[in-house]
Symmetry: C2
Subunit: 159 residues, 2 copies
């Protein structure tokens, strides 16, 4: 199908938190996001992949940079209950999204986006998709480089 990329969006006001090795059993995600919700912490991305070992998995989510310290405190206080192995905060990321109109499948947009970032040697840390977007987290230092390269790749450079 014809894939129309209508724009590139980005947010520099995101910080990520990764909880390493949470228990992969019912109730754990609820025990993480319950306290975050009760503390009125804004969460944008939530990314969890399957468990490798059938027992644990990692969970990453993003918050506004101003909420990072508070979110870390809330989760550290729950560490005993939750039993995660480590908590890694990182405010050094930017979220970059390619927005597609009429994307019945993400595969073409994903291929182009990932190839463009690869050509600039930009490592992709986190990937997430929605109906209209393919989003990645990359190191914040690459923001302008990534945006320029993606605009060119999708022919969005017009003035």
């Amino acid at each position: 199908e014809k894939q129309i990329v209508s724009g590139i969006a980005y947010s520099r006001d995101e910080a990520k938190i990764t909880l390493l090795k949470v228990q992969d059993r019912p109730g754990v995600a609820a025990a993480i996001f319950g306290p975050l919700a009760d503390s009125a912490i804004n969460v944008d991305m939530i990314v969890q992949n399957v468990s490798d070992d059938g027992r644990t998995t990692d969970l990453t989510f993003t918050v506004p940079k101003a909420d990072l310290d508070r979110a870390v405190k809330v989760l550290e206080a729950k560490r005993g209950d939750l039993g995660f192995q480590a908590l890694k905060p990182d405010s050094n990321v930017v979220k970059v999204s390619v927005i597609g109109v009429g994307m019945r499948s993400h595969v073409g947009v994903a291929k182009q986006m990932f190839q463009t970032l690869a050509e600039k040697s930009i490592n992709i840390q986190v990937i997430s998709t929605s109906e209209i977007k393919v989003s990645v987290l990359i190191a914040e230092e690459y923001t302008e480089l990534a945006l320029r390269a993606l605009h060119t790749a999708y022919g969005l450079d017009a003035n």
Copy 2:
């Protein structure tokens, strides 16, 4: 803020593929989705979390069930180039999404969704979010149980 959940969506026509321990360096995501795009395989969700060890990470994506065998073949053919440790296909999943209107933050919807699934002892395998949705992959056998519980939890049971 007032979070309005406008509906629950689901798709039974999704199969997931997890590539375990892909190299976490620029070019790897491109090398995975390039061949998939060239084989015209439809990809819906793509979920990748950060690397635990700084060297490898896992990547999960979903395809229509009818595309699963073909997607597996494409990637197995690239195994030498890509160097992943294992490929795990799984057609036994359903994607369930809570759709929120005016969700400035996903945290309230996520808390409710995850608590509801936990109460039914439904394990959450994969989590991904977008502007208007919080989506999970769970085992397909829980489809009706999850949908009923979520409709009740969000007060969408009206007849």
